[in-house]
Symmetry: C2
Subunit: 179 residues, 2 copies
Amino acid sequence: MKKKNIVFIAKSLDGFIAGKNGELDWLHSIPNPDNNDMGFNHLIDEIDAIVMGRTTFETVCGFEVDWPYRKHVFVLSNSLKNIPEKLEQKVTLINGTPQEILDQIYERGFFKLYIDGGRTIHNFIKEDLIDELRITTIPILLGGGFPLFGDLTNPMEFELIESKLFLNQIVQNHYKRRK
Amino acid sequence: MKKKNIVFIAKSLDGFIAGKNGELDWLHSIPNPDNNDMGFNHLIDEIDAIVMGRTTFETVCGFEVDWPYRKHVFVLSNSLKNIPEKLEQKVTLINGTPQEILDQIYERGFFKLYIDGGRTIHNFIKEDLIDELRITTIPILLGGGFPLFGDLTNPMEFELIESKLFLNQIVQNHYKRRK
């Protein structure tokens, strides 16, 4: 099976994925009357499972919507001991280093993965375990917050695969790791 | 005269304009056999003058090329007392707050300005004095360095005017401040 780890995320013009106080409202600052999903469902079609950090999991659980994912979700956490009963078939807790996590997920038969959540993305990029970045840029400067990218020891080159425009305001670029 | 302050700059995928040790070589990491200037000369046609910080001025002076600007350059500095003799007709030293600097430049009859240099850009954005951002993204994660954007007290919304692709790898987005 072809393995692939994909990041799909929206950031501000200045590179933040959440505001100084965790704000996410700016993600909806561009009117989207037809609820264009900007490739989200296409991504979910493509992947086998989703890997996310505990904070992202808890944020999604806090949204007043039904569980939004139709693929299996692995939640990375050293502290969570169990998940809400109604999600038991849909969510698996997992922990370890990024490579240990991937090995456990591959053993269960999931190979194409959507990697989500700020700290999780940082940790996977740091270990050079991300194959594709699909980055959607909202035209706003937040001026602070949680950055999409963290420190790296060495630069990493990427190759632009595609650049798309949504709602006439939002640019989404797909990059593949150049190795 | 219509006043306008434009930032035209290249950044890495993670938002840096220079590497951890000031490196700029990554700006040329995408082969550019025909020396596509990615809109630089068009920008220079459009503007009346260039405003840059001392560090950028000294960096340009250090390049082993002739003086590259065909419009007047204002160099912001509190410490520089004079400029090289051969540039006396082309460069003017200036200091003050961003607004004081603009007022001095307007008095001399220059209204459309290209604002350049990391700290200068930070200071002008902080005072909400930038009308247009033209940002070229090189597909590389530097992992650290001098960031294009700094902290802000409040978010600032922009409007996408145009998104261009150069050399099949480099996306350049033009944004206008939404006020």
